[in-house]
């Protein structure tokens, strides 16, 4: 079976890794270098802690296991994999009660949670006086571009090919079935299956393939400090973050996740704004993130910000990724719209796409268990968008 994967971000790389491991004939096409899209614009959080029970959490749990497998196979060092755990803290006693209730529902969905009374014992430099929090030992971290590059390299070792070029149109045969992809330079890559892993540009690529899906951008800024000796042990964030992730309000939301990385820098991220693809700097957002980080860790007041960057998270109107075959164009599968969790969800997505192409479970991914992510949810029975 010949598979063409459109996009060499973390999601496309993970799809290539699993499909090639399953023995499929894989070609990855990207208009730029590996991981240069949103994958290089985010952080590397692999979180269970921020997810409500539901289809996304199920994919996240599968993904979390597959990250462990990938670390075993490729070496945790190759992409700075660190299973450091997350600590969610409440700012006030009412917040703590809500956080505990949230954690109890997650625990019922098989997420490991530990209630923490004295957060200072977990994080010695955290602000004094916080009422408590929850520790999520499964939360982990990777360096996204290194991870995408490592997965793609492993796919190439298993026979995959990587090409540079822009996908412009589908080539279809009888019954509207896809038979290939045409690139901007007029080359046709033959394919039995085409995976739309174009992230934030997945909407446009879907249109070009005759299988449109609505993927929208949600802007985020991340702050990077000067390198420091280790001061922060976990991913630390305040419980408001959970509310923001699930929110579909317009406008700006910030609630920062603070974490140290192997290189000694501290990452503070990220804001969420719906402003289309506006690349303009927003100093007010930077100030807000800085203020929130300093409230969690007062020592940060004297630490220098040396860099900020921004990216556009790809999201679907219902804030769930779209993963699976498109009923309108046989042979097209979507793997995009992961919003602020595409790094964490990538291996699970790659395995699920592979299972869907094989028509049987693959590495713990059972197509029958993840139907909530299928494109059908946006389509009426006639195959047109709802």
């Amino acid at each position: 079976m010949e598979v063409v994967i459109l996009g060499a971000g973390i999601v496309g790389a993970a799809c290539a890794f699993h499909a090639a491991s399953a023995g499929l004939d894989v070609t990855v096409l990207d208009r730029g270098p590996v991981g240069a899209g949103t994958t290089s614009r985010g952080e590397g959080n692999i979180l269970l802690s921020d997810k409500e029970p539901g289809p996304e959490l199920e994919l996240a749990r599968l993904s979390r296991d597959l990250w462990d497998e990938a670390a075993d196979e490729l070496g945790p060092e190759t992409f700075e994999f660190e299973a450091k755990g997350g600590l969610v803290v409440a700012g006030a006693p009412e917040g703590l009660a809500a956080l505990h209730a949230f954690a109890a529902r997650q625990a019922a969905a098989d997420v490991r949670t530990e209630l923490v009374d004295r957060v200072g014992e977990f994080e010695p430099h955290i602000a004094p006086g916080l009422p408590g929090g929850v520790h999520y030992p499964q939360d982990a971290q990777v360096q996204p571009v290194l991870a995408a590059a490592a997965l793609l390299r492993a796919a190439v070792r298993r026979g995959a090919r990587v090409r540079t070029g822009e996908a412009v149109a589908a080539v279809t045969g009888t019954g509207g079935r896809i038979t290939g992809v045409r690139t901007a330079d007029g080359v046709v890559l033959p394919a039995d299956a085409v995976v739309n892993a174009a992230g934030t540009w997945g909407g446009e690529v879907g249109r070009r393939l005759g299988a449109p899906v609505e993927i929208l951008p949600r802007r985020g800024f991340v702050l990077v400090t000067e390198p420091l000796p280790p001061m922060i042990r976990h991913k630390v964030y305040s419980a408001d973050y959970v509310a923001n992730v699930a929110s579909s309000d317009e406008g700006l939301e910030t609630s920062c996740v603070v974490e140290g990385t192997r290189a000694g820098i501290i990452l503070i991220g990220a804001s969420r704004e719906r402003v289309g693809f506006d690349t303009a700097m927003n100093p007010a957002v930077v100030a807000l993130l800085a203020a929130q980080a300093c409230r969690l860790f007062p020592f940060l007041r004297d630490v220098h910000l040396i860099r900020a960057y921004r990216g556009f998270r790809p999201y679907c109107p219902d804030h769930l990724p779209v993963v699976g075959p498109d009923p309108r164009v046989p042979g097209v599968l979507h793997a995009c719209g992961h919003e602020g969790a595409g790094i964490g969800l990538a291996p699970g997505t790659g395995a699920l796409i592979t299972a869907q192409m094989l028509g049987r479970p693959w590495r713990g991914a059972d197509p029958a268990a993840h139907t909530g992510l299928l494109p059908e949810r946006f389509l009426t029975t006639g195959g047109v968008p709802k």
Partner: protein
């Protein structure tokens, strides 16, 4: 503490009482950078009737050209002795500009903000906000927001560095760094100095060092002298430049400083490193030079070993575009392997209301920077319909000056290219990015496996350019290691132009209590 002093030799006026209040009021124009370009622009705009913020991160106006010694270096030195004419050319112009600015400070039209480093800017419906940190009470930092209808970025350029084995030893500096050390009152007497690189700035540095009692044992110019003859026209049209160069040549001859063309410093070794590599050991003790083939490859058998305790290396300059890129400003190939702000004949960038002048538009010397500053200011006056426009004849003459100097700068750049084969001087363990300690070998290997197409990608894969300097130092070199030769270096976009403490930023988000 010593009273802050100006280059003009008199005490600088203390920060006026009302400065905090003035900072809060919107002005017509913000000029970032008070070098030759920014000072000239501000003076013209002020004379034309505008209210102007002139902002610089340094403690005094002047920029690279009229750099000031820090207070501590002046103590015990008679003020008359400074600045010395050999280091600060054209002090008359400086004093005249400074006097104009001072007069406008008195009338309240100019708000001069020194020790203010701009960390970002943003476009608003009716102009720009300019976000700076006030470091005048260092180590305290305070965030400041300035508002104006127009923005002129005159942030200059910085040294382009090419790594070579041993370039990270103590005692190895950039030529610009050496000059700054001199202008800042640093001690060089008695040092044995070797200079290398390419371009006309090596000569004034050599002359100034010799004049201060250093032994300049060699100046290694990578270009061939005949290269000048390939573009004679623009060079001949700038007799003042020839006179300047000739003046340096006389000084060099007087001090018997050998200038070796088609020669480069290809490695340096530290103290106590006889025969073996000892990078990072002691101060630099020895440099190796070699004659270069036309493509820059060292010619076998031409290597020389020269003892030196100070090395200055200059490979030209890179325009400082940090504030311009995030605003979406279009860029142009500067002709010397770098990119610069794209401007029209009136120094307007591609972004409405945004102007650029001086070395942000390409390297070309102080006179050009000043002319461009004046042209830019006239455009601002025109675009804001200000009353005080200078006559069209003067403007036309100024524009001709700009065109002539630009042609000269291009010709110079073509005569002093980077030697294409310089990466051959690097061993795999030569550090390329000093902040993150990334070696040439690491950069080459991500290039070889096809995963890295540009310096941005190399950064993601190797961390080169991710440290304190954010690739300002290593970016051009990494670019040369991975990109095709004809592609000029375009810096990565940096949303934060200078490190700022999170505390200062956090406070700026809160309602401000006190501003004075």
């Amino acid at each position: 503490m010593a009273e802050p002093r100006d280059l003009g030799g008199r005490a600088a006026s203390r920060e006026p009482r009302c400065l905090g209040a003035r900072r809060d009021e919107p002005h017509d124009l913000v000029v970032v950078g008070a070098g030759p370009a920014g000072m000239a622009a501000a003076a013209t705009a002020l004379d034309g009737g505008l209210r102007v913020f002139l902002v610089d991160s340094g403690p005094a106006p002047g920029g690279q050209f009229w750099r000031h010694p820090p207070d501590h270096a002046r103590e015990g030195v008679p003020t008359e002795a400074l600045p010395a004419e050999d280091l600060h050319h054209d002090l008359r112009t400086y004093r005249a500009l400074r006097a104009t600015l001072t007069a406008h400070e008195r009338t309240g039209r100019l708000t001069l903000l020194l020790d203010h480093h701009v960390w970002t800017t943003a476009r608003e419906a009716d102009g720009f906000t300019v976000h700076a940190v006030d470091r005048s009470r260092a180590p305290e930092e305070r965030a400041v927001v300035l508002r104006a209808r127009a923005l002129l970025v005159a942030t200059g350029a910085y040294d382009r560095q090419l790594p070579f084995p041993g370039w990270d030893l103590p005692g190895v500096l950039t030529a610009g760094g050496l000059q700054a050390l001199l202008k800042g009152g640093g001690v060089v007497a008695g040092r044995r100095v070797v200079l290398g690189g390419t371009g006309p700035f090596l000569l004034p540095v050599a002359a100034a060092l010799a004049g201060r009692g250093a032994a300049v044992v060699a100046v290694c110019e990578a270009a061939a002298p005949s290269a000048w003859l390939r573009h004679p026209a623009p060079l001949l049209r700038n007799p003042a430049k020839w006179a300047e160069a000739a003046g340096y040549a006389v000084t060099l001859a007087r001090h018997r400083i050998p200038v070796r063309t088609r020669t480069a410093i290809i490695s340096a070794e530290g103290e106590g490193a006889e025969g073996e590599r000892a990078e990072g050991e002691g101060r630099v003790a020895v440099v190796r030079t070699a004659s270069l083939a036309a493509d820059g490859t060292p010619l076998p058998g031409t290597e020389r070993r020269i003892e030196a305790d100070t090395v200055g290396v200059g490979w030209g300059f890179v325009p400082q575009l940090d504030l311009l890129l995030p605003l979406g400003c279009g860029l142009a190939d500067a002709g010397d392997g770098t990119t610069a702000a794209a401007v029209d004949a009136g120094q307007r960038t591609t972004v409405p209301g945004l102007y650029a002048a001086g070395e942000t538009c390409g390297v070309g010397g102080a006179a050009l920077a000043m002319s461009e500053g004046r042209v830019a200011a006239v455009s601002v006056l025109t675009d804001l319909s200000a009353p005080g426009l200078p006559g069209t004849r003067r403007l036309a003459a100024e524009r001709r000056t700009v065109a002539r100097h630009r042609a000269f700068a291009r010709a110079l750049a073509q005569a002093h290219p980077l030697p294409p084969a310089w990466p051959a001087w690097l061993t795999d363990d030569t550090t390329v990015c000093r902040c993150e300690e990334v070696t040439a070998g690491a950069v080459r290997s991500v290039r070889a496996d096809g995963s890295a197409a540009g310096h941005r990608q190399v950064k993601q894969l190797t961390r080169a350019g991710m440290g304190w300097c954010q690739g300002r130092m290593c970016g051009p070199a990494v670019h040369c290691l991975v990109a095709a030769r004809e592609v000029p270096y375009t810096p990565a976009e940096r949303l934060i132009a200078t490190p700022v403490t999170l505390g200062a930023l956090a406070d700026s988000g809160e309602p401000t209590a006190d501003h004075t």
